[in-house]
Symmetry: C2
Subunit: 315 residues, 2 copies
Protein backbone atom coordinates (compact mmCIF):
# COMPACT_ATOMS: atom_id res chain seq x y z
CA UNK A 1 0.00 0.00 0.00
CA UNK A 2 1.30 3.46 -0.86
CA UNK A 3 2.20 5.71 2.05
CA UNK A 4 0.23 8.84 2.81
CA UNK A 5 0.91 11.56 5.38
CA UNK A 6 -1.01 14.15 7.34
CA UNK A 7 0.28 17.68 7.85
CA UNK A 8 -1.31 19.88 10.51
CA UNK A 9 -0.62 23.57 10.89
CA UNK A 10 -1.79 24.93 14.20
CA UNK A 11 -2.43 28.65 14.28
CA UNK A 12 -3.88 30.91 16.94
CA UNK A 13 -7.23 31.18 15.16
CA UNK A 14 -7.41 28.31 12.65
CA UNK A 15 -5.74 24.95 12.36
CA UNK A 16 -5.39 23.66 8.83
CA UNK A 17 -4.72 20.01 8.02
CA UNK A 18 -4.18 18.11 4.82
CA UNK A 19 -3.56 14.66 3.40
CA UNK A 20 -0.25 14.75 1.53
CA UNK A 21 1.30 12.12 -0.72
CA UNK A 22 5.02 11.41 -0.89
CA UNK A 23 5.43 13.77 -3.85
CA UNK A 24 4.06 16.71 -1.87
CA UNK A 25 0.67 16.71 -3.53
CA UNK A 26 -2.17 17.72 -1.23
CA UNK A 27 -4.96 15.21 -1.78
CA UNK A 28 -7.44 16.82 0.59
CA UNK A 29 -7.46 19.70 3.01
CA UNK A 30 -9.70 21.09 5.72
CA UNK A 31 -9.57 23.19 8.86
CA UNK A 32 -11.09 23.69 12.27
CA UNK A 33 -11.11 26.63 14.67
CA UNK A 34 -8.29 26.50 17.18
CA UNK A 35 -9.51 29.24 19.47
CA UNK A 36 -12.91 27.63 20.06
CA UNK A 37 -11.20 24.89 22.09
CA UNK A 38 -10.13 25.75 25.60
CA UNK A 39 -9.17 22.12 26.20
CA UNK A 40 -6.48 20.80 23.86
CA UNK A 41 -7.70 17.21 24.38
CA UNK A 42 -11.06 18.04 22.89
CA UNK A 43 -9.34 19.91 20.08
CA UNK A 44 -7.23 16.82 19.31
CA UNK A 45 -10.27 14.54 19.46
CA UNK A 46 -12.21 16.72 17.06
CA UNK A 47 -9.41 17.27 14.57
CA UNK A 48 -8.58 13.53 14.68
CA UNK A 49 -12.14 12.63 13.81
CA UNK A 50 -12.06 15.11 10.93
CA UNK A 51 -8.77 13.67 9.69
CA UNK A 52 -10.21 10.15 9.77
CA UNK A 53 -13.20 11.28 7.73
CA UNK A 54 -10.88 12.96 5.24
CA UNK A 55 -8.73 9.83 5.01
CA UNK A 56 -11.79 7.66 4.46
CA UNK A 57 -13.19 9.89 1.75
CA UNK A 58 -10.03 10.73 -0.17
CA UNK A 59 -7.20 8.36 0.69
CA UNK A 60 -8.61 4.85 0.54
CA UNK A 61 -6.00 2.35 -0.47
CA UNK A 62 -3.22 4.41 1.11
CA UNK A 63 -1.49 3.65 4.39
CA UNK A 64 -1.24 6.54 6.88
CA UNK A 65 2.49 6.62 7.62
CA UNK A 66 2.98 9.69 9.75
CA UNK A 67 1.47 12.86 11.14
CA UNK A 68 3.51 16.05 11.19
CA UNK A 69 2.49 19.10 13.14
CA UNK A 70 3.72 22.67 12.89
CA UNK A 71 2.77 24.71 15.94
CA UNK A 72 3.87 27.89 17.70
CA UNK A 73 6.55 27.07 20.32
CA UNK A 74 6.54 23.47 19.17
CA UNK A 75 9.33 21.38 20.64
CA UNK A 76 10.54 18.65 18.30
CA UNK A 77 12.15 16.61 21.06
CA UNK A 78 9.19 16.44 23.40
CA UNK A 79 6.38 16.72 20.86
CA UNK A 80 4.91 19.43 23.07
CA UNK A 81 3.75 22.97 22.60
CA UNK A 82 5.47 24.87 25.39
CA UNK A 83 4.18 28.18 26.70
CA UNK A 84 2.84 29.50 23.38
CA UNK A 85 1.80 33.11 23.91
CA UNK A 86 -0.70 33.10 21.01
CA UNK A 87 -2.66 29.99 22.00
CA UNK A 88 -5.31 29.56 24.64
CA UNK A 89 -3.59 26.41 25.92
CA UNK A 90 -1.26 27.42 28.70
CA UNK A 91 1.91 25.71 29.92
CA UNK A 92 3.17 22.52 28.31
CA UNK A 93 0.73 20.73 26.01
CA UNK A 94 1.80 17.21 24.97
CA UNK A 95 0.14 17.42 21.60
CA UNK A 96 2.01 14.65 19.75
CA UNK A 97 1.19 12.22 22.56
CA UNK A 98 -2.48 13.20 22.41
CA UNK A 99 -2.61 12.49 18.67
CA UNK A 100 -0.95 9.13 19.22
CA UNK A 101 -4.06 8.02 21.08
CA UNK A 102 -6.01 8.29 17.84
CA UNK A 103 -3.47 7.18 15.23
CA UNK A 104 -1.13 4.23 15.02
CA UNK A 105 1.73 5.99 13.21
CA UNK A 106 4.65 8.29 14.10
CA UNK A 107 3.59 11.79 15.18
CA UNK A 108 6.15 14.59 15.06
CA UNK A 109 5.86 18.22 15.97
CA UNK A 110 7.98 21.33 15.58
CA UNK A 111 7.45 25.05 15.27
CA UNK A 112 5.96 26.48 12.10
CA UNK A 113 9.17 28.02 10.73
CA UNK A 114 11.10 24.78 11.20
CA UNK A 115 8.29 22.93 9.45
CA UNK A 116 8.49 25.42 6.59
CA UNK A 117 12.26 24.83 6.33
CA UNK A 118 11.73 21.08 6.08
CA UNK A 119 8.97 21.64 3.55
CA UNK A 120 11.29 23.81 1.45
CA UNK A 121 13.94 21.10 1.57
CA UNK A 122 11.50 18.32 0.68
CA UNK A 123 9.23 20.00 -1.85
CA UNK A 124 10.51 23.51 -2.54
CA UNK A 125 13.55 25.47 -3.65
CA UNK A 126 15.94 23.89 -1.14
CA UNK A 127 15.79 20.42 -2.72
CA UNK A 128 19.30 19.01 -2.64
CA UNK A 129 20.63 21.78 -0.39
CA UNK A 130 22.29 20.79 2.86
CA UNK A 131 22.92 24.25 4.35
CA UNK A 132 20.25 26.91 4.14
CA UNK A 133 18.08 29.20 6.22
CA UNK A 134 14.33 29.65 5.98
CA UNK A 135 12.98 32.99 7.16
CA UNK A 136 9.23 33.43 7.50
CA UNK A 137 8.07 37.02 7.45
CA UNK A 138 4.57 36.99 8.86
CA UNK A 139 3.13 38.78 11.86
CA UNK A 140 6.49 38.03 13.42
CA UNK A 141 9.74 36.67 12.02
CA UNK A 142 10.34 32.94 12.29
CA UNK A 143 13.29 30.94 11.06
CA UNK A 144 14.55 27.42 10.52
CA UNK A 145 18.22 26.59 10.06
CA UNK A 146 19.38 23.55 8.12
CA UNK A 147 22.99 22.49 8.66
CA UNK A 148 24.66 19.42 7.17
CA UNK A 149 21.27 18.40 5.79
CA UNK A 150 19.56 18.40 9.18
CA UNK A 151 17.30 20.86 10.87
CA UNK A 152 18.91 22.62 13.83
CA UNK A 153 16.75 21.94 16.88
CA UNK A 154 19.49 22.64 19.40
CA UNK A 155 19.89 21.17 22.85
CA UNK A 156 16.32 21.91 23.89
CA UNK A 157 14.37 21.70 20.63
CA UNK A 158 13.86 25.46 20.31
CA UNK A 159 16.75 26.59 18.09
CA UNK A 160 16.20 28.97 15.17
CA UNK A 161 14.78 32.09 16.79
CA UNK A 162 16.39 34.61 14.44
CA UNK A 163 13.44 36.95 14.99
CA UNK A 164 14.53 37.31 18.60
CA UNK A 165 18.12 38.26 18.00
CA UNK A 166 18.60 41.89 18.89
CA UNK A 167 19.01 44.62 16.32
CA UNK A 168 18.90 47.60 18.66
CA UNK A 169 19.27 47.27 22.43
CA UNK A 170 17.41 50.54 22.90
CA UNK A 171 14.92 49.74 20.16
CA UNK A 172 11.27 48.85 19.83
CA UNK A 173 9.51 46.90 22.57
CA UNK A 174 8.98 43.27 21.56
CA UNK A 175 6.20 40.88 22.58
CA UNK A 176 8.91 38.74 24.20
CA UNK A 177 9.48 41.42 26.84
CA UNK A 178 12.82 42.65 25.51
CA UNK A 179 13.74 45.50 23.22
CA UNK A 180 14.87 45.77 19.62
CA UNK A 181 14.31 42.19 18.44
CA UNK A 182 14.69 41.79 14.69
CA UNK A 183 11.03 40.84 14.33
CA UNK A 184 9.89 44.21 15.61
CA UNK A 185 11.42 45.66 12.41
CA UNK A 186 11.41 42.93 9.77
CA UNK A 187 7.90 41.47 9.73
CA UNK A 188 4.44 42.50 8.61
CA UNK A 189 3.97 44.17 11.98
CA UNK A 190 7.42 45.75 11.93
CA UNK A 191 7.02 47.39 8.53
CA UNK A 192 3.74 48.96 9.63
CA UNK A 193 5.46 50.42 12.70
CA UNK A 194 8.22 51.78 10.48
CA UNK A 195 5.63 53.36 8.18
CA UNK A 196 3.91 54.99 11.17
CA UNK A 197 7.23 56.36 12.39
CA UNK A 198 8.16 57.73 8.99
CA UNK A 199 4.71 59.25 8.44
CA UNK A 200 5.16 61.44 11.50
CA UNK A 201 7.87 63.50 9.89
CA UNK A 202 7.30 62.92 6.17
CA UNK A 203 6.56 66.22 4.44
CA UNK A 204 5.83 65.17 0.85
CA UNK A 205 2.76 63.52 -0.63
CA UNK A 206 2.17 59.84 -0.08
CA UNK A 207 -0.63 57.33 -0.63
CA UNK A 208 -0.08 56.24 2.93
CA UNK A 209 -0.96 59.60 4.44
CA UNK A 210 -4.30 59.98 6.13
CA UNK A 211 -5.20 56.30 5.86
CA UNK A 212 -7.47 55.00 8.62
CA UNK A 213 -5.27 53.24 11.17
CA UNK A 214 -6.51 49.74 10.30
CA UNK A 215 -5.82 50.25 6.60
CA UNK A 216 -2.11 50.88 7.07
CA UNK A 217 -1.12 47.26 6.54
CA UNK A 218 2.02 45.65 5.12
CA UNK A 219 -0.01 44.79 2.01
CA UNK A 220 -1.07 48.43 1.60
CA UNK A 221 2.53 49.60 2.02
CA UNK A 222 3.60 47.09 -0.63
CA UNK A 223 0.91 48.33 -3.03
CA UNK A 224 2.01 51.91 -2.52
CA UNK A 225 5.63 50.92 -3.12
CA UNK A 226 4.59 49.13 -6.32
CA UNK A 227 2.95 52.40 -7.42
CA UNK A 228 6.28 54.14 -6.85
CA UNK A 229 5.19 55.91 -3.66
CA UNK A 230 8.40 57.37 -2.27
CA UNK A 231 7.51 57.02 1.37
CA UNK A 232 6.54 53.38 0.93
CA UNK A 233 9.85 52.75 -0.83
CA UNK A 234 11.72 54.42 2.04
CA UNK A 235 9.85 52.16 4.46
CA UNK A 236 10.84 49.06 2.48
CA UNK A 237 14.41 50.29 2.28
CA UNK A 238 14.64 50.75 6.05
CA UNK A 239 13.13 47.30 6.63
CA UNK A 240 15.53 45.77 4.10
CA UNK A 241 18.53 47.47 5.70
CA UNK A 242 17.82 45.95 9.08
CA UNK A 243 16.96 42.52 7.66
CA UNK A 244 20.01 42.57 5.37
CA UNK A 245 22.33 43.47 8.23
CA UNK A 246 21.04 40.68 10.44
CA UNK A 247 21.16 38.15 7.60
CA UNK A 248 24.82 39.09 7.08
CA UNK A 249 25.33 38.27 10.77
CA UNK A 250 23.82 34.79 10.55
CA UNK A 251 25.69 34.08 7.32
CA UNK A 252 28.84 34.50 9.42
CA UNK A 253 27.52 31.84 11.80
CA UNK A 254 26.19 29.04 9.56
CA UNK A 255 27.41 30.08 6.08
CA UNK A 256 24.35 28.86 4.18
CA UNK A 257 24.11 28.22 0.46
CA UNK A 258 20.85 30.15 0.35
CA UNK A 259 18.40 32.08 2.47
CA UNK A 260 14.72 31.67 1.61
CA UNK A 261 12.20 34.34 2.46
CA UNK A 262 8.62 33.23 2.90
CA UNK A 263 5.34 34.70 4.06
CA UNK A 264 3.23 37.77 3.47
CA UNK A 265 6.02 40.31 3.36
CA UNK A 266 8.12 38.14 1.03
CA UNK A 267 5.34 38.40 -1.56
CA UNK A 268 6.55 41.97 -2.15
CA UNK A 269 9.14 40.37 -4.46
CA UNK A 270 11.84 42.64 -5.84
CA UNK A 271 10.65 45.54 -3.71
CA UNK A 272 11.87 43.61 -0.69
CA UNK A 273 14.44 41.23 -2.17
CA UNK A 274 16.56 43.75 -4.11
CA UNK A 275 17.36 46.14 -1.26
CA UNK A 276 17.62 43.29 1.28
CA UNK A 277 20.12 41.50 -0.93
CA UNK A 278 22.08 44.67 -1.46
CA UNK A 279 22.28 45.46 2.30
CA UNK A 280 23.09 41.83 3.04
CA UNK A 281 26.01 41.85 0.61
CA UNK A 282 27.20 45.25 1.82
CA UNK A 283 27.35 43.97 5.38
CA UNK A 284 28.82 40.53 4.70
CA UNK A 285 32.30 39.63 5.88
CA UNK A 286 34.45 39.59 2.73
CA UNK A 287 34.82 35.78 2.59
CA UNK A 288 31.02 35.42 2.40
CA UNK A 289 30.33 38.11 -0.20
CA UNK A 290 28.54 37.07 -3.40
CA UNK A 291 28.12 33.50 -2.19
CA UNK A 292 24.71 33.35 -0.55
CA UNK A 293 21.56 33.33 -2.66
CA UNK A 294 18.58 35.25 -1.30
CA UNK A 295 15.58 33.44 -2.76
CA UNK A 296 11.81 33.43 -2.55
CA UNK A 297 10.34 30.24 -1.14
CA UNK A 298 9.00 27.92 -3.83
CA UNK A 299 6.35 26.52 -1.53
CA UNK A 300 2.81 27.51 -2.51
CA UNK A 301 1.77 30.27 -0.10
CA UNK A 302 -1.49 28.65 0.96
CA UNK A 303 -0.25 25.10 1.38
CA UNK A 304 3.25 25.70 2.71
CA UNK A 305 2.42 25.17 6.36
CA UNK A 306 0.61 21.88 5.75
CA UNK A 307 3.32 20.66 3.35
CA UNK A 308 6.03 21.61 5.83
CA UNK A 309 4.28 19.80 8.64
CA UNK A 310 3.82 16.69 6.48
CA UNK A 311 7.49 16.84 5.42
CA UNK A 312 8.42 16.38 9.08
CA UNK A 313 7.35 12.73 8.91
CA UNK A 314 8.20 12.07 5.29
CA UNK A 315 11.84 11.21 5.93
CA UNK B 1 49.75 -1.56 15.14
CA UNK B 2 48.25 1.19 17.29
CA UNK B 3 47.14 4.33 15.53
CA UNK B 4 48.89 7.65 16.09
CA UNK B 5 48.01 11.10 14.82
CA UNK B 6 49.73 14.39 14.08
CA UNK B 7 48.22 17.73 15.00
CA UNK B 8 49.62 20.90 13.46
CA UNK B 9 48.69 24.39 14.58
CA UNK B 10 49.72 27.03 12.10
CA UNK B 11 50.13 30.50 13.52
CA UNK B 12 51.37 33.72 12.00
CA UNK B 13 54.72 33.48 13.78
CA UNK B 14 55.14 29.87 14.92
CA UNK B 15 53.70 26.56 13.84
CA UNK B 16 53.49 23.95 16.56
CA UNK B 17 53.06 20.26 15.85
CA UNK B 18 52.68 17.20 18.01
CA UNK B 19 52.27 13.46 17.93
CA UNK B 20 49.01 12.55 19.63
CA UNK B 21 47.67 9.14 20.62
CA UNK B 22 44.01 8.19 20.46
CA UNK B 23 43.51 9.14 24.11
CA UNK B 24 44.65 12.69 23.48
CA UNK B 25 48.05 12.26 25.04
CA UNK B 26 50.77 14.30 23.36
CA UNK B 27 53.74 11.98 22.92
CA UNK B 28 56.09 14.54 21.41
CA UNK B 29 55.86 18.16 20.35
CA UNK B 30 57.98 20.65 18.43
CA UNK B 31 57.67 23.83 16.40
CA UNK B 32 59.10 25.74 13.47
CA UNK B 33 58.89 29.39 12.47
CA UNK B 34 56.04 30.08 10.06
CA UNK B 35 57.06 33.58 9.11
CA UNK B 36 60.54 32.56 7.96
CA UNK B 37 58.99 30.77 4.99
CA UNK B 38 57.81 32.89 2.09
CA UNK B 39 57.09 29.74 0.08
CA UNK B 40 54.51 27.42 1.65
CA UNK B 41 55.96 24.45 -0.26
CA UNK B 42 59.30 24.83 1.50
CA UNK B 43 57.48 25.29 4.80
CA UNK B 44 55.58 22.03 4.25
CA UNK B 45 58.77 20.21 3.22
CA UNK B 46 60.61 21.38 6.32
CA UNK B 47 57.80 20.68 8.80
CA UNK B 48 57.21 17.27 7.19
CA UNK B 49 60.84 16.33 7.67
CA UNK B 50 60.65 17.44 11.29
CA UNK B 51 57.48 15.40 11.83
CA UNK B 52 59.14 12.31 10.37
CA UNK B 53 62.09 12.74 12.73
CA UNK B 54 59.70 13.12 15.64
CA UNK B 55 57.74 10.01 14.60
CA UNK B 56 60.95 8.02 14.27
CA UNK B 57 62.24 9.05 17.65
CA UNK B 58 59.07 8.85 19.71
CA UNK B 59 56.37 6.84 17.94
CA UNK B 60 58.01 3.68 16.69
CA UNK B 61 55.59 0.81 16.57
CA UNK B 62 52.67 3.14 15.90
CA UNK B 63 50.94 3.64 12.59
CA UNK B 64 50.46 7.26 11.46
CA UNK B 65 46.72 7.37 10.76
CA UNK B 66 46.00 11.00 10.03
CA UNK B 67 47.28 14.56 10.05
CA UNK B 68 45.03 17.35 11.25
CA UNK B 69 45.84 21.00 10.70
CA UNK B 70 44.40 24.09 12.34
CA UNK B 71 45.16 27.23 10.37
CA UNK B 72 43.82 30.76 10.01
CA UNK B 73 41.18 30.91 7.24
CA UNK B 74 41.45 27.15 6.86
CA UNK B 75 38.76 25.65 4.66
CA UNK B 76 37.75 22.15 5.70
CA UNK B 77 36.22 21.27 2.34
CA UNK B 78 39.16 22.24 0.16
CA UNK B 79 42.01 21.65 2.62
CA UNK B 80 43.27 25.10 1.69
CA UNK B 81 44.20 28.23 3.55
CA UNK B 82 42.33 30.98 1.74
CA UNK B 83 43.39 34.63 1.87
CA UNK B 84 44.68 34.57 5.44
CA UNK B 85 45.48 38.16 6.43
CA UNK B 86 48.01 37.16 9.11
CA UNK B 87 50.14 34.82 7.00
CA UNK B 88 52.78 35.67 4.43
CA UNK B 89 51.25 33.19 2.00
CA UNK B 90 48.82 35.06 -0.19
CA UNK B 91 45.78 33.79 -2.04
CA UNK B 92 44.73 30.14 -1.85
CA UNK B 93 47.32 27.74 -0.43
CA UNK B 94 46.49 24.06 -0.91
CA UNK B 95 48.16 23.00 2.29
CA UNK B 96 46.50 19.61 2.85
CA UNK B 97 47.43 18.57 -0.67
CA UNK B 98 51.04 19.64 -0.09
CA UNK B 99 51.26 17.52 3.04
CA UNK B 100 49.81 14.54 1.18
CA UNK B 101 52.96 14.48 -0.94
CA UNK B 102 54.93 13.55 2.17
CA UNK B 103 52.51 11.33 4.07
CA UNK B 104 50.36 8.40 3.08
CA UNK B 105 47.42 9.10 5.40
CA UNK B 106 44.35 11.36 5.46
CA UNK B 107 45.18 15.07 5.89
CA UNK B 108 42.44 17.41 7.08
CA UNK B 109 42.48 21.13 7.71
CA UNK B 110 40.17 23.66 9.30
CA UNK B 111 40.48 26.96 11.07
CA UNK B 112 41.91 27.11 14.57
CA UNK B 113 38.64 27.78 16.39
CA UNK B 114 36.91 24.88 14.65
CA UNK B 115 39.84 22.66 15.55
CA UNK B 116 39.53 23.80 19.16
CA UNK B 117 35.81 22.91 19.12
CA UNK B 118 36.56 19.41 17.85
CA UNK B 119 39.33 19.09 20.43
CA UNK B 120 36.91 20.11 23.18
CA UNK B 121 34.42 17.49 21.96
CA UNK B 122 37.04 14.75 21.72
CA UNK B 123 39.24 15.42 24.73
CA UNK B 124 37.76 18.28 26.74
CA UNK B 125 34.62 19.44 28.51
CA UNK B 126 32.30 18.84 25.56
CA UNK B 127 32.68 15.04 25.61
CA UNK B 128 29.25 13.59 24.93
CA UNK B 129 27.73 16.93 23.96
CA UNK B 130 26.07 17.22 20.56
CA UNK B 131 25.21 20.93 20.57
CA UNK B 132 27.73 23.45 21.86
CA UNK B 133 29.74 26.51 20.88
CA UNK B 134 33.45 27.06 21.34
CA UNK B 135 34.59 30.67 21.61
CA UNK B 136 38.30 31.44 21.50
CA UNK B 137 39.24 34.77 23.01
CA UNK B 138 42.72 35.52 21.73
CA UNK B 139 44.01 38.44 19.72
CA UNK B 140 40.68 38.16 17.93
CA UNK B 141 37.53 36.17 18.65
CA UNK B 142 37.16 32.83 16.90
CA UNK B 143 34.35 30.33 17.21
CA UNK B 144 33.33 26.82 16.28
CA UNK B 145 29.70 25.65 16.32
CA UNK B 146 28.76 22.03 16.89
CA UNK B 147 25.20 21.05 15.93
CA UNK B 148 23.73 17.54 16.04
CA UNK B 149 27.20 16.25 16.94
CA UNK B 150 28.87 17.72 13.86
CA UNK B 151 30.96 20.79 13.32
CA UNK B 152 29.19 23.47 11.30
CA UNK B 153 31.36 24.20 8.26
CA UNK B 154 28.54 25.66 6.18
CA UNK B 155 28.19 25.68 2.42
CA UNK B 156 31.70 27.00 1.80
CA UNK B 157 33.70 25.63 4.74
CA UNK B 158 33.98 28.98 6.54
CA UNK B 159 31.07 28.95 8.99
CA UNK B 160 31.51 29.98 12.62
CA UNK B 161 32.72 33.57 12.39
CA UNK B 162 30.99 34.85 15.53
CA UNK B 163 33.80 37.38 15.99
CA UNK B 164 32.63 39.09 12.81
CA UNK B 165 29.01 39.50 13.70
CA UNK B 166 28.29 43.15 14.32
CA UNK B 167 27.76 44.59 17.77
CA UNK B 168 27.66 48.26 16.81
CA UNK B 169 27.26 49.43 13.20
CA UNK B 170 28.91 52.73 14.10
CA UNK B 171 31.49 51.06 16.31
CA UNK B 172 35.20 50.33 16.32
CA UNK B 173 37.02 49.74 13.05
CA UNK B 174 37.78 46.05 12.54
CA UNK B 175 40.68 44.45 10.67
CA UNK B 176 38.08 42.97 8.31
CA UNK B 177 37.33 46.44 6.96
CA UNK B 178 33.94 46.83 8.61
CA UNK B 179 32.88 48.48 11.85
CA UNK B 180 31.79 47.22 15.26
CA UNK B 181 32.56 43.50 14.90
CA UNK B 182 32.25 41.62 18.18
CA UNK B 183 35.97 40.81 18.18
CA UNK B 184 36.89 44.50 18.36
CA UNK B 185 35.32 44.44 21.86
CA UNK B 186 35.52 40.90 23.18
CA UNK B 187 39.11 39.76 22.68
CA UNK B 188 42.52 40.45 24.16
CA UNK B 189 42.84 43.37 21.75
CA UNK B 190 39.32 44.59 22.39
CA UNK B 191 39.65 44.75 26.15
CA UNK B 192 42.83 46.82 25.83
CA UNK B 193 40.99 49.29 23.57
CA UNK B 194 38.17 49.47 26.12
CA UNK B 195 40.71 50.16 28.88
CA UNK B 196 42.28 52.95 26.82
CA UNK B 197 38.88 54.49 26.19
CA UNK B 198 37.92 54.32 29.86
CA UNK B 199 41.28 55.70 31.01
CA UNK B 200 40.67 58.91 29.09
CA UNK B 201 37.86 60.00 31.36
CA UNK B 202 38.53 58.01 34.55
CA UNK B 203 39.09 60.38 37.45
CA UNK B 204 39.91 58.02 40.34
CA UNK B 205 43.11 56.11 41.07
CA UNK B 206 43.90 52.98 39.08
CA UNK B 207 46.84 50.64 38.61
CA UNK B 208 46.30 51.01 34.90
CA UNK B 209 46.96 54.75 34.88
CA UNK B 210 50.28 55.99 33.52
CA UNK B 211 51.36 52.54 32.30
CA UNK B 212 53.67 52.61 29.28
CA UNK B 213 51.56 51.88 26.21
CA UNK B 214 52.97 48.40 25.62
CA UNK B 215 52.32 47.37 29.22
CA UNK B 216 48.59 47.91 29.00
CA UNK B 217 47.80 44.32 28.03
CA UNK B 218 44.78 42.09 28.66
CA UNK B 219 46.91 40.20 31.19
CA UNK B 220 47.77 43.41 33.03
CA UNK B 221 44.10 44.44 33.07
CA UNK B 222 43.22 41.03 34.49
CA UNK B 223 45.86 41.35 37.22
CA UNK B 224 44.54 44.77 38.16
CA UNK B 225 40.98 43.41 38.27
CA UNK B 226 42.16 40.57 40.51
CA UNK B 227 43.62 43.20 42.85
CA UNK B 228 40.21 44.84 42.98
CA UNK B 229 41.15 47.79 40.77
CA UNK B 230 37.83 49.49 40.05
CA UNK B 231 38.69 50.68 36.57
CA UNK B 232 39.89 47.22 35.53
CA UNK B 233 36.64 45.75 36.85
CA UNK B 234 34.64 48.31 34.85
CA UNK B 235 36.60 47.33 31.76
CA UNK B 236 35.83 43.64 32.33
CA UNK B 237 32.20 44.47 32.96
CA UNK B 238 31.90 46.38 29.68
CA UNK B 239 33.59 43.54 27.81
CA UNK B 240 31.33 40.99 29.48
CA UNK B 241 28.21 43.00 28.66
CA UNK B 242 28.96 43.00 24.95
CA UNK B 243 30.05 39.35 24.90
CA UNK B 244 27.03 38.29 26.98
CA UNK B 245 24.63 40.12 24.69
CA UNK B 246 26.03 38.53 21.56
CA UNK B 247 26.09 35.08 23.16
CA UNK B 248 22.39 35.50 23.96
CA UNK B 249 21.88 36.19 20.25
CA UNK B 250 23.61 33.00 19.09
CA UNK B 251 21.82 30.96 21.73
CA UNK B 252 18.62 31.99 19.94
CA UNK B 253 20.08 30.58 16.71
CA UNK B 254 21.59 27.22 17.67
CA UNK B 255 20.36 26.71 21.26
CA UNK B 256 23.51 25.00 22.55
CA UNK B 257 23.84 22.95 25.71
CA UNK B 258 26.99 24.87 26.62
CA UNK B 259 29.29 27.64 25.47
CA UNK B 260 32.99 27.14 26.15
CA UNK B 261 35.35 30.08 26.46
CA UNK B 262 38.96 29.45 25.64
CA UNK B 263 42.13 31.47 25.20
CA UNK B 264 44.09 34.17 27.00
CA UNK B 265 41.14 36.28 28.08
CA UNK B 266 39.20 33.24 29.33
CA UNK B 267 41.99 32.61 31.85
CA UNK B 268 40.59 35.56 33.79
CA UNK B 269 38.14 33.01 35.24
CA UNK B 270 35.32 34.37 37.37
CA UNK B 271 36.32 37.95 36.60
CA UNK B 272 35.17 37.33 33.03
CA UNK B 273 32.76 34.40 33.42
CA UNK B 274 30.54 35.79 36.18
CA UNK B 275 29.56 39.07 34.51
CA UNK B 276 29.43 37.47 31.04
CA UNK B 277 27.06 34.80 32.31
CA UNK B 278 24.93 37.36 34.05
CA UNK B 279 24.63 39.56 30.92
CA UNK B 280 24.03 36.50 28.78
CA UNK B 281 21.13 35.38 30.98
CA UNK B 282 19.74 38.89 31.24
CA UNK B 283 19.61 39.13 27.44
CA UNK B 284 18.34 35.63 26.66
CA UNK B 285 14.92 35.07 25.20
CA UNK B 286 12.82 33.63 28.03
CA UNK B 287 12.67 30.07 26.65
CA UNK B 288 16.49 29.89 26.73
CA UNK B 289 17.04 31.36 30.19
CA UNK B 290 18.95 29.24 32.73
CA UNK B 291 19.56 26.48 30.20
CA UNK B 292 22.96 27.20 28.67
CA UNK B 293 26.13 26.53 30.64
CA UNK B 294 28.97 29.01 30.18
CA UNK B 295 32.09 26.95 30.83
CA UNK B 296 35.85 27.26 30.69
CA UNK B 297 37.49 25.01 28.14
CA UNK B 298 39.00 21.90 29.69
CA UNK B 299 41.72 21.70 27.06
CA UNK B 300 45.19 22.42 28.40
CA UNK B 301 46.03 25.98 27.32
CA UNK B 302 49.37 25.13 25.73
CA UNK B 303 48.36 21.96 23.91
CA UNK B 304 44.81 22.81 22.88
CA UNK B 305 45.62 23.85 19.33
CA UNK B 306 47.65 20.71 18.62
CA UNK B 307 45.05 18.47 20.29
CA UNK B 308 42.24 20.14 18.37
CA UNK B 309 44.06 19.72 15.07
CA UNK B 310 44.74 16.05 15.83
CA UNK B 311 41.10 15.51 16.82
CA UNK B 312 40.15 16.50 13.26
CA UNK B 313 41.44 13.16 11.98
CA UNK B 314 40.68 11.07 15.02
CA UNK B 315 37.08 10.31 14.04
Amino acid sequence: MQAIYVGIDIGGTNSVFGIVDSEGKIIAKSSIKTDKHEDPKIFVKEISEEIKLLLDSSAQGYKLSGIGIGAPNGNFYTGSIEFAPNLKWKGVVKLAEMFSEYFDCPVKLTNDANAAAIGEMQFGGAKGMTNFIMVTLGTGLGSGFVVNGELVYGADGFAGELGHTIYDYEGRPCGCGRKGCLETYASAGGIVTTAREELRSYKEDSELKDLPKNELTSKRIYEAAKNGDKLALIVFDKTAEILGRKLADVIAITSPEAIFLFGGLALAGDILFKPTNSYMEENCLVIFKNKVKLLPSLLPENDAAVLGAAALVLN
